[in-house]
Subunit: 303 residues, 4 copies
């Protein structure tokens, strides 16, 4: 070590750690819901940590957010009303708004302080999305919002933190909540969520989310991507009432992208669409072993 | 930090480091060609480092080796004579030998000491492959071997370290060498190599390997996988005289696997085959920017 | 490592590092003269780093400051006019003011921003000293101040950072400057300075300071203490025109302390006074090897 | 961090850690009694760790061992029979043997494997002491040995690890054991022991050892030194039946050293002798607060 100064140490497990040099610490503090750290690293750019877990890095946040948003949005033939749960930095919003036929996006995040901090320190993430006319911002528990809303959505996107002990996301990965999501979707509606690591060892949360969604939706399509700044392959799951992402071919996507004037993508493009859904054998074999998560038997992140 | 003792620090760049707890150090020493470290980590299992760069971890070496070997071997309709360059731990050999119609595999590694150490400390990698009747082991500079061999191979697999300064692999990633490889292949022969990281930032080595192969082979198919223990998406390139991996469908692969009695795979399976070749947009856009590598203008790993 | 989050890494050499957990970062920024970092560690309390070198920790700053100030102040029979060079956090000032017969302390620090930051974030160090009637604060290059002052002082205390490249202290450890110091002292005046590590390996700065002072002062008394938060034995040097610290016995110090109403000491007490000056044999043997430091042949900290 | 590879992390507390680059690991393994690690660091030289706590580094082991041995040996007017408890690397033995009037040193260490490993990997510590005619080596529990020996010693030196949970030293720092030590000493005998850190925070073990010895010996003289490679001021205690170390002046020591042909010291010399016993005020004030350690109420190291 010839370089000195501040490092952020992130633990994967107690015996596998990552040290990230901190050039500048923008913010360190606790909101009502979580512990927030925002800093700059020469290689990763700006980085956001919630409860000491990395959420997003400037260098590749587009990989995460394009992987989360576009498979669902392109699969839906006409996504006009979209709901985003979580997604505090505004990049999920940004990607949704790229589809110009979207008329309204409602974003529900429990942590107003976090959103304000992201607007202040991480404006590159939302890139203007918060001031888009089509955006509606609600600071509320998503569980309450989804239960009480009378609207029906075309697409619902869950962009939440992992369910750590006493964290704000514990009851947003349960069958009870997914039932409400189902009810809040139109009859051809789609739900997509980020669902944790799909690495060869720690993927039990992922497979349990998939299993739980299968109890609720007729069609469940797990897929994966790779997030460099996490150092991990990352799991997403698309749950659908009717539309199947695998029925789209490259030409369909190209046409939809053109019609909807989707621009500036850096990761997602038609050839990637189907390949997302090709899971590795170890994961395919283990998918059956997932447990159904409920309010009573919910998941707590163990790492 | 509540745990104390030995850690291995691997640097991605000076400001991004990984700390791996060392439960047991099996070996640390310098061979004629490189600096070798073999240790055990509770999570990764046994790990091999060459010149302070991770090569393989027990937890997921199968992902790397299945990604390297099977796309090429399944694409070839009848791979009987195979050449492996590098691949000191013997796991590439092991994967090749799973195809029972392979009659002979020649493995050429410059570093006999390394191979002996792997046989002693990492027998799980080769899993008996070194004593298979079909295996022939040659300790020699691969450049010399390929130049002088009079045999023609069906498939040649390059499983080398990155070309670090004064390392043994510098001149094994150049047009001059790829020309020799081309000559050593039968008329429907295939060449595949591991070609470094495909992360969103440091992929110039990868795109230059692809560009260089395009000067030599009529068909070049770059593909990628994700190696968890590297924390990186990883690039491979298949260069072919005739056969195209994209012409195989799932059914073809399933039949070939059955006919060749390929067993015990944990990562590769038919649905993954085509998806390997769907590169992310940032990489597709940059592929054109690669430089042709030659003996004179060769590549030196900068990290 | 089971604890995650921010750590500050301080390098002793490239192969010996210290990691200090950062509970709270109070300040990180560059003044006109140096890079300042102030944070809290659960064990050390508040800590001040200048140019990535530790200056003071709340847990034991009293050891450093009592070691620096009291040997000189007790040795002088009647210290009325005192000059402090550097000492931005105000703790040297605080210790000087404990001697109630001190009428005036002038503190000259080049870095006004640093002093303001210390007043804001580290008030425990000065503990009211900045608002003491006897204190006079001057923001100026000490070299200029000492050259131009027409006053004569009883005691001058140098509490500076080590002379790192392009740092503000490089020319404050040279014969030329010590000559000016000599001239600014009354005929029974004393000069004391902190002079770096006295560890068994890196003490060349210390022995060179001693050698240089011997060219200027008739009596030079090197002494040492141990600063826990530095993890190092630390060197000081008392240079005197007339008074000898070794001529004081415990009784003298006890009487002077009583007469001057010195209170609240936690480290220095009479039995320690003489023992400070008993250097270890390795240091005694090497003292002769110091080089005379001049403006031309000045010292640059190598670590 | 620009340097990569193996580091040893030593924890002072969970939030204060030290990273020591490992150039070469000589040995890592568990004996019947403790976990041993021996490696080389470019700056510290060879280093010995027992149960993940540093015991000795080549760069300054002489400071520790001279501080432990010579105050007692010079204080005794004629040390002929010496007993060393612990001291596995043989350096305490080495220092005792420098006094040529010593006729016999018995060293009792419970861990034969450790002693063999030190002889193999750390011969610089003993420097021939193990093959000195006057040395007698016994592998036995010191508690048993002292209880059963019929010999009386002039000086007994305790050079043990701290009493960590289930470690071999727990019952060698209790009143019951010190009583046996007292009985095994001649009527003018001296006992000296290393007694842990004297840093401003964690010195409760030290003050409790002192308090306990006061219940057994008529004269107890605590003293301290500074061990650079520990990064800590370090406590020792001399307990005496008759002789007082403070009655020796420089001249006495010089004469004794000459008469006994003591050579090659690098740390201890006459002026240091008395200064060892000048403790800092915080320690003097806390000495009264020590608890009497007994077999029942023994001390377990908390860090």
């Amino acid at each position: 070590m010839k370089e000195e100064g501040l490092y952020f140490f992130e633990l994967f497990t107690g015996n596998l750690v990552k040290g990230i040099k901190v050039d500048k610490l923008y913010y360190q503090g606790r909101t009502k819901y979580q512990f927030i750290q925002i800093f700059h690293n020469q290689f990763l750019g700006k980085v956001l940590f919630l409860d000491n877990k990395i959420q997003s890095a400037q260098i590749d946040e587009y990989i995460y957010h394009e992987s989360l948003v576009h498979p669902a949005l392109f699969t839906h033939p006409s996504p006009k009303e979209v709901l985003v749960i979580g997604g505090g930095e505004g990049a999920t919003l940004r990607e949704v708004l790229r589809h110009d036929l979207v008329l309204k996006v409602t974003m529900v995040d429990i942590d107003e302080e976090l959103v304000k901090l992201c607007q202040k320190y991480l404006p590159e993430w939302s890139d203007g999305a918060f001031s888009d006319q089509r955006t509606s911002l609600v600071f509320e528990d998503a569980r309450l919002f989804v239960k009480e809303t009378e609207k029906k959505f075309d697409v619902i996107i869950s962009d939440l933190t992992e369910p750590i002990k006493e964290g704000p996301s514990v009851y947003l990965f349960t069958k009870e909540f997914f039932d409400k999501i189902f009810q809040a979707l139109k009859e051809d509606g789609l739900f997509v969520l980020q669902a944790g690591s799909t690495d060869p060892f720690y993927h039990d949360f992922y497979i349990s989310c998939a299993k739980t969604l299968e109890k609720v939706f007729p069609l469940v399509r797990p897929y994966w991507s790779f997030i460099f700044s996490f150092g991990l392959p990352w799991g997403f799951i698309l749950a659908s009432k009717k539309e199947d992402p695998l029925r789209l071919d490259d030409e369909d996507i190209t046409q939809r992208a053109h019609k909807r004037k989707v621009k500036k993508l850096k990761f997602y493009h038609p050839p990637l669409h189907k390949s997302f859904f090709a899971l590795p054998l170890y994961l395919v074999n283990n998918l059956k072993k997932g447990k159904v998560l409920t309010d009573k038997e919910h998941y707590i992140w163990k790492l």
